[in-house]
């Protein structure tokens, strides 16, 4: 291993001297991103052009990778001491990188400018009291519905007061002629939010005990599965046969769909009228809250320039306006004028729901070995959906698996 450490050291020194040499005039800041490809490359290019116009001494070089390949690539770069100066991380992976000490504390450089960000969203990117990243955007999941299907079936549009019961009744009326009333995926992410809608959780509040097999969680999972098997208002994965729920919604085959606001752009040209509403809960309201952040590597040679870039990317007027216009998730800045620009866009009409959903936001119970936990629980959920295990058994087994991982 010493050899490899030595290699790392040599590489680091080599890159140091190269960087130092080129520094004389302009500095290059490298940026690795997953959220830009394939749809928002143009916006990223424009953002960089605007930044470089204002900072002629800094050049931003970016690289994109698809979501699946991104973390494989990032880990290899970080492992061999070639981490990009700045890179994008979602909330869960931020926790991993932060706890491994791979990120630069930018709290000092940010200082009082903290207030330009939405406080809750910025707080997601703190770790042990240090600001280790800036929030770039946030998104959440709401209930999308096809207004024309509701009209045709003579059903009232989903209201804020709806619970699972009203949702199911509406879904039953909408399910006909090969169309399905409602859809929510049965996987880990949907599960931790749905159990919160019934007052449940995966871990207790201080993350010391696994409570995934509680009675209300069994009830929740049973309800999720019953929509497929008992009430038949939701297609099974075999019935969907590789077609995504989003594609089916856009094709007018699903009445109510729980999915992310990142689909606004894709649904923009749907051939029917649609809108969004708050998700019905059972005993509680609960909505997903996802945040992407941008971080500075602790190995960077140019921390100030790197910070300048990520601050520009996440909060400058140019970047924020580009994002809002393109529907590239939602910038998490506090200035209400941007929220207004967002709300003023015509489709979908009830855009204020996006902000209302924040009042009941649930964040995932991120722990170390997070990906392993999501895989383990996901596998048990699959078994329950397929009927090879009862919901009780699946959640009991999930509990054992989580305990082993923790």
């Amino acid at each position: 291993m010493k050899i490899i450490n030595k290699l790392f050291a040599t590489v680091a020194i080599a890159s140091l001297s190269v960087a130092g040499f080129a520094n004389a005039e302009s500095v290059t800041v490298k940026y690795l991103t997953f959220s830009a490809a394939p749809n928002y490359i143009k916006e990223l290019d424009a953002t960089i052009a605007a930044f470089e116009a204002k900072n002629p001494d800094i050049e931003v070089e970016y690289e994109t990778a698809g979501w699946e390949a991104y973390f494989t690539k990032l880990q290899t770069l970080v492992a061999s001491g070639k981490a990009p100066d700045t890179y994008e991380l979602n909330h869960e992976n931020f926790v991993t990188y932060a706890s491994k000490g791979a990120l630069l504390d930018i709290g000092g450089m940010l200082g009082a400018d903290k207030s330009i960000y939405n406080a809750t969203a910025l707080d997601v990117f703190t770790h042990d009291g240090k600001q280790l990243g800036l929030v770039e955007s946030f998104s959440n999941v709401v209930l999308f519905y096809n207004q024309e299907m509701f009209d045709a079936a003579g059903v009232d549009y989903p209201a804020e007061s709806w619970t699972w019961k009203e949702e199911l009744e509406a879904a039953q009326k909408l399910t006909k002629d090969g169309n399905w009333g409602a859809f929510a995926p049965i996987q880990f992410w949907e599960f931790y939010k749905t159990i919160a809608q019934n007052g449940g959780a995966i871990l207790n509040d201080d993350k010391t005990e696994v409570v995934i097999d509680s009675a209300q969680n069994v009830e929740t999972l049973t309800w999720m599965i019953d929509k497929i098997n008992k009430y038949k208002v939701t297609p099974s994965s075999a019935q969907m046969a590789g077609q995504s729920s989003e594609d089916m919604f856009k094709a007018g085959k699903i009445g109510m769909l729980r999915t992310g606001i990142w689909m606004f752009g894709a649904f923009n040209d749907a051939p029917f009228k649609w809108d969004i509403a708050l998700e019905p809960g059972n005993t509680n309201k609960a909505h997903h809250f996802f945040a992407n952040g941008v971080v500075v590597s602790d190995k960077t040679e140019n921390p100030e320039q790197a910070f300048k870039w990520i601050k520009f990317l996440t909060s400058s007027q140019e970047a924020v306006e580009l994002r809002i216009a393109a529907g590239w998730e939602l910038p998490a800045v506090s200035d209400p004028k941007y929220a207004k620009a967002y709300l003023d866009q015509p489709i979908p009409p009830s855009r204020d729901v996006v902000f209302k959903a924040l009042d009941s936001a649930v964040v995932p119970p991120v722990i170390a070995n997070w990906n392993q936990l999501t895989d383990a629980v996901g596998k048990e959920l699959e078994a329950a959906v397929l009927g090879t295990k009862t919901p009780e058994q699946a959640l009991k087994d999930a509990k054992v698996a989580i305990q082993a991982i923790m």
Binding site: V11, K30, T64, G66, T76, K82, Q243
Partner: protein
């Protein structure tokens, strides 16, 4: 052999029918892939499945080419795959010959060492290899894309098996003429081995052409990226456009099929007719 079939026409017809069904099964997926790549957005998810699109469109192909600098990616893929193929065949033929025809101490052990390298998953050697490339300061370069995969234990194994089949008399005759191993290899063995080399070449070309994980990690500049990376950009985080994806797959598959069509007379006929006689 199977002479009785010739006299028994029912059995013979059955053989042909089975062969034809099998051939259809071999080609059907390609027909399906090509058909889907010309389908419009609405025509993908329909029952019964459409084998021939009712309203064919080229949109999917435009989308593929607009998604990234595809021309550059294809050029890189051609450069990398051709050089890589050449090197794989060169090193595999020479080392395969050495293992098959030159007796030396430790030959068996060394050969099993080569074989053993095939048994370690690439996933865990990726990171150390990347460190080595950085040490050589090769990241983002053609040599980093080409060299690490130019030494193929599979190729050595294939060529060794082939060279072992060359009759001893041929070698003895050459030795009587005063030829050493190097002369025998370049003047005789390599010519006899053309079919095996063609087979290896198509495998090497294919592996290099389709390689994804290594180029993903070693390139960071789009001027160095290869076709599979470009195709991976087609799959978004949330949705998959099957028809666009299939158009990308057609673009990725076509060149290898073309190489195959041009070399297949060596591979198929050659392997069966010249063999090692």
């Amino acid at each position: 052999m199977f002479k009785q079939f010739e006299n028994f026409s029912a059995g013979r017809s059955l053989t042909y029918i089975l062969l034809l069904i099998g051939a259809a099964a071999m080609l059907l997926p390609f027909a399906w892939m090509i058909a889907t790549s010309f389908k419009g957005e609405g025509a993908v998810f329909v029952t019964p499945p459409q084998l021939i699109p009712t309203e064919p469109t080229l949109d999917n192909y435009f989308k593929v080419f607009n998604s990234s600098p595809m021309g550059r990616f294809i050029l890189n893929s051609v450069i990398v795959s051709s050089l890589n193929t050449f090197l794989v065949v060169l090193f595999a033929a020479s080392s395969g010959y050495a293992f098959a025809r030159i007796k030396f101490k430790g030959r068996e052990v060394l050969f099993y060492g080569y074989l053993a390298t095939m048994m370690v998953p690439q996933q865990v050697t990726l990171t150390p290899l990347f460190v080595i490339m950085n040490f050589l300061d090769w990241s983002n370069s053609y040599q980093a894309l080409i060299l690490p995969t130019s030494f193929s234990a599979f190729g050595t194994f294939l060529m060794r098996q082939f060279f072992m089949g060359i009759p001893q008399e041929i070698e003895d005759a050459a030795v009587l003429d005063g030829a050493g191993h190097i002369t025998i290899f370049y003047k005789i063995a390599i010519h006899l081995a053309k079919p095996a080399m063609a087979t290896l070449a198509i495998f090497a070309f294919m592996a290099s052409w389709n390689s994804f994980l290594w180029p993903l990690i070693i390139t960071s500049d789009s001027s160095m990226m290869t076709l599979p990376l470009g195709l991976s950009f087609l799959q978004g985080r949330w949705t998959t456009d099957w028809n666009v994806l299939m158009a990308g797959t057609v673009i990725g598959t076509l060149p290898v099929l073309l190489v195959y069509i041009f070399t297949q007379k060596y591979i198929i006929k050659g392997l069966s007719h010249t063999g090692s006689k």
